[in-house]
Structure formats: structure tokens, C-alpha cells
């Protein structure tokens, strides 16, 4: 086991800067998500860490040892591919045994280790099957067993759950997390699914256009995004843009919005505020002034989407559509076209420079 340090790594393909001076410290035993839209450089970064591709500049270290020029087969990493990449000509057991076998381990050792790895992923009885006889979830587990049986220093996962259907994906998220905890391996996984990143990882790194936008624990990034991109890519956010007042922003129409978290922006500069849809309260008519929900706006419900446990209201105000998520508490539902008042706390308002 080992931590991974990525320092000032850049990589260009022709004129395209796939990675631009990216630095991240992956602590030993942590579970990291690299999150970003397609083309953000997250897979390129994973391939640099794996050793399939070498950076133009910068340093990559695994367990303190510089590896940026070491080819993948000598890095002692484990990798799970998006489409699993199981060897079709081999049985499940032979797939898992491959890494030990190319190292020239003794047959008895291999057999025991393979059985242990298959038991760990709960496929102990399927060693004799061929990959094409397995379900998607089972293939996923075989790929995982194959990647960890060699006791790699770091486990890399490239959109590992992308090919599974929703229900199976949730099962596999829990399963993956359990296995990762059990063997305590440093894990870096690439995803474009923000929910997956939030639920599974200890820390998230958000990438955009080859640059690291923000890095930190999921709660921190969700509650205190440092950019509009981070706010809208990880979860939903209502963004207000205006001029900083010192304690919030002033919108073009004169409304002020108080913000007590986020960056400090000098008064007069351009700034924006982000508010999560579930932090906004929605009511009909004039609400009593409430210091806890000091920010208020009037608007009109333009659309309601009922999703069982909650409802999403789209509220139009002054050319902007705001999103509000209300838990289904059995209270009266608002109709489309209804005039409403939105209110929320300055504590729920993040100021972004």
C-alpha cells in the first residue's frame, strides 16, 4: 500500500492540453474520486498514474518512489477497466491468476490466492466459468478480484460502474467500498457520475479542461464550492450573479443576497452566490420576517416535477429560473402558475469570487 503524489503534471496531445499543471496528493488508504465531464482530463490523469502514458512535465510518485518514467507493467498497480477487459480465452480463475502467473508464482500459491480473491468478491464458486457466461455485475467483480490479487500498491478504477444498470450500480458501490476498506488499498476512481463520487469517496477532485478545479472531502466541496463550475457540476445549484457588497451580493435589480460562507470578495467586485435547491424554503403569500431565512425572493412556479419522496419546483423570477427541492411531507403541493416567496439562510449561501 502506498500513497500517490501527483505534482505539476502536464500532458498535451498536439495542441490540446489534456492536463495542465495538475497536483493532487492521494493519501495512503484513501478512496478518491476524480470527477469531471468528458474531456476534462480525468482519464488522462488516471492513465498517467497507471503508467500507460507519460507526462510531458511534472512528477508522479507511488509510495514516495518517482514513477513518471516507469512503464505500467513495472508500477505494481491494479486497474479495473470500464468494460472490464476480462480475457475472453481464459476461465474466471485463469483471469484472476494472470497477474500472479506472469510473475512466475508457484502453482499452489496462485490457486490459494485466486480462491481468496474470488471469495472476497463473493464469486468463490464461479472460478471455472468463462467471462461470457457471467452477468455484468459478476464480470465487474472478476475484474476487481483480478486487479487486487497481486496486492498492488494502488487500485485504479476507470468508470468501473458505468456499464451497470442503476440498481446493480448501487449494490456494487457498497460492495466496492466494503472491499476497499477490507484491504485498505489506496483507491483512485474516475467517474462522471457525481452521485457516485459523493457516496463512495473520502475525497473528490473535480477536473475541468485539464485543470484541477477543486479538491477536498465531498461535504466540503458540496457545502463550499469555490467556483460556479464546482457548484453546478457536483450537485445542483442556483447561481446568482451581481456585485459584491462585503456581506453578500447585490443583484442587477437591486435585491441583496446575504452570504455567510465561501470566499471573501472585496465590495464592488463581480461575484456570484450559489444556493442548493434543497436549502430553499418555498411558501405562498408573505412569510413572516425570519432572521434565519433572511434571503427572500418573489417568484412564480413554472413547473413542478414530482419524484415520490420529493418535488422539484421551477420558480421564475426576473428572467431567471430557480430550482427548489421540497421533501414530500404530506403538506399541500403548489400548483404551476402560483405566486410564491422563496427564503433561505445566509449560512446556506456560498459566495464565489
Amino acid at each position: 500500500m502506498a500513497g500517490v503524489q501527483v505534482a505539476n503534471v502536464s500532458r498535451s496531445f498536439g495542441a490540446h492540453k489534456a492536463l495542465d499543471d495538475v497536483s493532487i496528493d492521494f493519501a495512503d488508504g484513501g478512496f478518491y474520486a476524480l470527477l469531471g465531464p468528458s474531456g476534462s482530463g480525468k482519464t488522462t490523469l488516471l492513465r498517467q498514474i497507471a503508467g500507460f502514458d507519460f507526462p510531458d512535465a511534472g512528477r508522479i510518485a507511488i509510495g514516495g518512489e518517482s514513477v513518471e518514467r516507469v512503464p505500467v507493467e513495472k508500477r505494481r498497480i491494479g486497474m479495473v477497466f470500464q468494460n472490464y477487459a476480462l480475457f475472453p480465452n481464459m476461465s474466471v480463475a485463469d483471469n484472476v491468476a494472470f497477474g500472479l502467473s506472469v510473475r512466475g508464482e508457484a502453482k499452489a500459491t496462485i490457486a490459494a490466492e485466486v480462491q481468496r480473491a474470488l471469495d472476497l468478491v463473493q464469486l468463490g464458486k464461479l472460478g471455472g466459468r468463462r467471462p461470457h457466461q457471467l452477468s455484468g455485475g459478476q464480470r465487474q467483480r472478476v475484474a476487481l478480484a483480478r486487479a487486487i490479487v497481486t496486492k498492488p500498491r494502488v487500485l485504479l478504477l476507470d468508470e468501473p460502474l458505468g456499464a451497470l444498470d442503476k440498481a446493480l450500480r448501487v449494490d456494487m458501490q457498497i460492495e466496492l467500498k466494503r472491499i476497499q476498506r477490507e484491504i485498505g488499498i489506496t483507491t483512485i476512481f474516475v467517474t462522471h457520475d457525481q452521485e457516485e463520487a459523493l457516496t463512495m469517496s473520502d475525497r473528490i477532485g473535480i477536473l475541468r479542461d485539464g485543470r484541477l478545479v477543486q479538491e477536498g472531502p465531498p461535504e466540503e466541496i458540496y457545502d463550499r464550492p469555490q467556483s460556479e463550475f464546482a457548484a453546478t457540476f457536483l450537485g445542483d445549484a442556483n447561481i446568482f450573479r451581481g456585485d459584491a457588497t462585503g456581506s453578500g451580493i447585490k443583484l442587477p435589480d437591486g435585491t441583496t443576497i446575504a452570504a455567510s460562507t465561501g470566499a471573501s470578495v472585496p465590495a464592488g467586485a463581480k461575484a456570484s452566490c450559489a444556493v442548493r435547491p434543497e436549502r430553499i424554503r418555498i411558501s405562498t403569500g408573505a412569510a413572516k420576517p425570519d432572521p434565519a431565512n433572511a434571503n427572500t425572493l418573489k417568484g412564480q412556479v413554472s413547473k413542478r416535477i414530482f419524484a415520490g419522496n420529493n418535488s422539484t419546483y421551477f420558480v421564475d423570477r426576473d428572467g431567471q429560473t430557480l430550482k427548489v427541492i421540497v421533501q414530500n411531507t404530506g403538506a399541500e403541493r403548489l400548483a404551476e402558475g402560483q405566486d410564491v416567496v422563496l427564503s433561505w439562510s445566509p449560512d446556506s449561501t456560498v459566495l464565489i469570487a
Binding site: 505500467v72 468494460n83 477487459a85 480465452n89 497477474g99 506472469v102 483480478r146
Partner: protein
Amino acid sequence: MATTRILEWLGRFYIVLLLGFLYLPIVIMAAMSFNASPFYQLPFEWTTDWYASLWQNDQLIAATWNSIEIAVITTIISTVLGAMASLALYRYEFRGKKLLQALLFPPIAIPWLITGTAMLIFFFGVGIGRGLIAILLGHVALALPYVIVVVSARLQTFAPELEEAARSLGANQWQVTMRVTLPWIMPGVIAGGLFAFAVSFDQFVVSYFLATPGQTTLPVEIYAAIRKGFTPEINAVSTIIIVVSMALMLLTARFFKFGGEK
């Protein structure tokens, strides 16, 4: 219902017709190799004399062995070289790759008569001259593009992540190739090998140019024999070759299940 049955019947008739078109000449030749009359006279009179006299025809037997030897060696050399070339073209990007790939196809289209003439001139120019070595080199050159085309087609269905997965597990280039890539392209390699064998074993034109009178291959020898005067011995040797090569083909098809899902 009636139309369906008629269509079905027509379909069967068509298949019979097709098979007849393919196999009838061969069946007649095989039958004549067991007919006593050297002039294809009927009624049919059973005999194995032609096979017996074939056994006495040292020249024909020598030519047959030459053909088999050259075809086997051609198959081995061109399959190994062709598979390696296909892998290189698949894996690496290098200057002139597109040109090289484009240049692989024309030899398939150039008439063998012209290739044969060119080879004859070339082999005399470089001092190899005519003979079995020249024939072997010529056959390898003819078979190579077929192998590369067939193996490359198979490689197009290979998922490159498999090689990456193998490398991530610590396998070096040799282990990756032998344990992951080669097993996948094996049906293509076998098919390419069969093509190579066929190109060499059936080869008349190029062999004719490159053969010396004492040292020929079977097709050249058969041609020479026919010019001297046709004997049913030729039918006999042809029948043996057909039976052996069809058995080989069927065996291969059975083992590798060509055309079907694995």
C-alpha cells in the same frame, strides 16, 4: 402454405444445383480415376490400376513431395512473418505506415504471370536463379499479403484494453502477445495459414517460371504430363490431393468453428 412449400423446394433445388456446380467436375474426375478405360469410355469398369501405376511414377511422386514441402514451409514462414507484421501494423504508429498498408494489396491483384516474370528476372539478377529455393521465396512473397489481410481483419475485433489490462497486471510485451493477443487472433492466423497453403500448393504460374526441369512442383508436373499425353494417373493423383485437402479443411473448420460463434 402451398407457396411456402414451393419456395422451400426451390431453395433446396438451388442448393443442390450450387453443390453440383461446385463438385460435379471433381466427382467425375474422381470416378474416372477408378475407370479402366484411359479414354473415359463407358460403361464404367472398376480398377485401381491408375493408383498402382501412380506409385511407379517417380517423377510425379517427387513433384508431389516438393509441392507439399514448399507449401508447408511457405505456410510456416508466411504465417509467422504475416502475423508479426499484422501485430506491428496494429500496435505501432510510424512514418510511412499508411503507404506500407496500401502497398500490401496490389500484389494480390497483380496477375501472377507478371509477378512470375518479375521474380524470374529478379532471382537471376541476384544470383539465386531458378529452382526450389526460388519457388519457395516466390510463394512466401505471394502468400504474405493474404496472411496479413486476414490476420489484420481479425485484429480489428480485438479490444486494446485487453493488452492494457495484461500490462497492468505485470505482463511484459512477450507475455501479453503470447497469452492474450495471440489466442484471440488465432482463428485469423489459422485461416491465414490455410490461405498461404492454398496459394502455394495451387500455384502454377509462378512455379512454372521458377522451376527447373528436374525439380518441379505438382501442378507444373501435371501440366507437363498432360502435354505429353493425358493419362488417368493424373485423375488419381488429383483425387488423392482433393480427399486429403478436404479432410484437412473440414478438420480445421471443426476445431476452429469458422463462421460460427465461439
